[in-house]
C-alpha cells in the first residue's frame, strides 16, 4: 500500500498540498476574523465559472480562474460591510456564476476529466512545473502577508481607529481579497474549487476557537492544515478514495468537537465581581 509513496507524483502532491495548507492557513485566519468566510467561498465558486469558461475557449483553466476570482474580489470589497445585504448580493452572484459554469461545461465537448479536476482537484496529477509555479506564487503571497501583518490585524479588529492612525483601510480590504483570489487559484489544483473552504477556512476557524492570540492562531491554523492534507493524501493512497474527500472530512471532523467544547470553555470565564454586597429581592404582595 505505501509503496505508492515512492513515486514522484505523490511527492508533488505532498509539496503542493503543504504549500496550499500553509498559504490558506495564514490567509484564512483573516477571512474568519473579518467575517468574510462566505465571500471566500463565493470566490471559489465564481472562479469555477472562469475556469470552465477558459476550458471552453481552449486556454488553461488557471487563467480563467484567476481572472474571475480577482474580478470578483475587486467587486466584493466594494460592497457594503453590512453583512446580510452583502451576503445576499454575493449569494445571488455566486449562484449565477455556478450556473454559467454548468453552461460552459455542457458546451464543452472535450475530456470530462477536466471538469472533474476543476471541481474537486487532481492532487495526484500535479506536475513538477505546477509545484514550482505554485511555490513561487505562494511564497509571494506569504511575503506580502508578513509585511501587511500588523496593518491587516489592526484594520480587521478596529477599522475606525486604524483609519485615524493613518492606515489605508479601504486599500487593505481590496488588496487582501485579491490575495485570497490568488490563494484560491493555487488551491484549485489540490482540492478543487468546490472544496477550497475546507482548507481555506476550516483550520483557521478551528484555531480561533482554541486561542485568542493572533500569531498562535495562525501557527495552529497552518499546522492543522498541514496535518489534514498529509493525512488526506495517506488515507487516499491506502484506500483509493478521493484525497479532497478525506481532507474535507477531517477538517469537518476536527472543527465540530472543538466548536462544541469551546462553547463550554467560554461560559466558564470568570466574571469580575464588583463587590461582595448581596441584593435582597422583596417579594411583591
Amino acid at each position: 500500500m505505501f509503496s505508492v509513496l515512492q513515486y514522484p507524483f505523490i511527492h508533488n502532491a505532498f509539496l503542493a498540498g503543504s504549500l496550499v495548507a500553509i498559504v490558506n492557513g495564514v490567509l484564512g485566519y483573516f477571512l474568519v476574523v473579518r467575517g468574510l468566510t462566505f465571500a471566500g467561498h463565493a470566490l471559489s465558486s465564481i472562479g469555477f465559472a472562469g475556469a470552465a469558461g477558459a476550458v471552453l475557449l481552449g486556454i488553461p483553466p488557471a487563467y480563467g480562474l484567476l481572472a474571475f476570482t480577482i474580478g470578483a474580489s475587486l467587486v466584493i470589497s466594494t460592497l457594503s460591510s453590512e453583512t446580510s445585504r452583502r451576503d445576499v448580493a454575493i449569494g445571488v452572484t455566486m449562484t449565477f456564476a455556478l450556473s454559467l459554469g454548468i453552461l460552459f461545461l455542457s458546451l464543452y465537448h472535450g475530456y470530462a476529466e477536466m471538469a472533474y479536476s476543476i471541481l474537486f482537484g487532481t492532487i495526484v496529477g500535479i506536475s513538477q512545473n505546477d509545484v514550482i509555479l505554485s511555490a513561487m506564487l505562494g511564497l509571494g503571497v506569504l511575503a506580502v502577508l508578513s509585511v501587511l501583518w500588523r496593518p491587516l490585524l489592526f484594520s480587521s479588529f478596529d477599522p475606525e481607529v486604524a483609519e485615524v492612525r493613518g492606515l489605508p483601510v479601504r486599500f487593505l480590504n481590496v488588496f487582501y481579497l485579491v490575495l485570497v483570489a490568488v490563494a484560491v487559484s493555487i488551491a484549485m489544483q489540490v482540492i478543487g474549487v468546490l472544496l477550497v473552504f475546507a482548507l481555506l477556512i476550516g483550520p483557521s476557524a478551528t484555531a480561533i476557537r482554541i486561542t485568542d492570540h493572533p500569531m498562535r492562531a495562525v501557527a495552529l491554523s497552518v499546522c492543522l492544515g498541514l496535518v489534514y492534507t498529509w493525512a488526506g493524501i495517506l488515507l487516499a493512497a491506502a484506500s483509493n478514495w478521493p484525497v479532497s474527500f478525506f481532507i474535507t472530512a477531517i477538517s469537518f471532523g476536527v472543527y465540530l468537537p472543538v466548536r462544541l467544547l469551546a462553547g463550554q470553555k467560554r461560559a466558564r470565564f470568570p466574571i469580575k465581581q464588583l463587590g461582595k454586597k448581596s441584593v435582597t429581592i422583596l417579594d411583591k404582595e
Binding site: 476574523v33 509585511v147 500588523r150 489592526f154 479588529f157 493572533p214
Partner: protein, 257 residues
Amino acid sequence: MTMPEPIIYLDQVDVCLGNVFILQHISLSIKPGEFIVILGPNGAGKTTFLKLLLGLVKPCTGEVLVFGGPPQCGLQEIGYAPQRRMLDTETALCARDLVGFGLDGHRWGTGWPSRRRTEVIDQALEEVDALDLAEAPVGQLSGGEQQRLLLAQALLAEPRLLLLDEPLANLDPAHQQEAVALVDKIRRKRDTTVLLVSHDINPLLRFTDQVLYMAHGHSAIGTPEEVITSETLSQLYDTSVEVVQTKGRYFVVGAEV
C-alpha cells in the same frame, strides 16, 4: 508674553451632509493643554465635529487648522477613542493585543515581541485598572471594561491631542470618576489637550476649562458658568430651557441633554 499657538482653530466653519447643515458658523480657538467638554443632544454633530478635526469629514466652508495645518488622518500626535458599540462576544482577541494596537498597530511588518513592549502595554493597562484583564478575550468583557481598554489604547500613542467620544457612556459612577481623573492626570503630566464628548457635565466639572455646547446646528463655547445658562441654552435649542444649579451641579430642564 506671547500667546501659545492654538492647537485647534476654526474660522466660520460649516459642515453639511447633502443639503443638511450639521454644523454652522463654528469659530473657536483651543489652546494646548485645555480640557474641553463637548455637550449636546444626540445628532447635534458632536461626533461630526471630532471627525472634522481628524480629517474624516471636510468642511464645506471655513478654515480648520489642527496643529497649525489642515486636518489629516495618520497624525501620530492625535489619540482617538470613537463612540463604541459592544464588541462581538466571540471576538478572538485578548485585551493586551487590543490595547497594543495603539502602540504599533499602524506599523508595517510583524514586529518583534519584546519585554519592553509588554511592559509599556501593561503599564497602560495598569493606569486604567485593567491589568488583570490582560489575557481576557475582549468580547467577554463588560461595556465598561472594553471602554477602559480603548482609553488605554488611545493613551498609548502618547498623544498631544486626545479626542474621546462618549468615553464614560458604559461606566458606572465609580469608574467614571476614575477614568476622568486619569485623563486629567495624563493631561497635566504631558500637557495634552483633551476634547471629551459627554452627555453629563457634572462628573467633569472639576476638570473642565471650557464647554463647547452644540444643539440644532448652533454652538457656543466658553466656561461652564458662561455657557450652561438658561439664556444661552434657550438660544441654542430655540425653545425655553431652564438650567438649575444646585449643590455645585448643573441640571438642564426642558430639553434633551
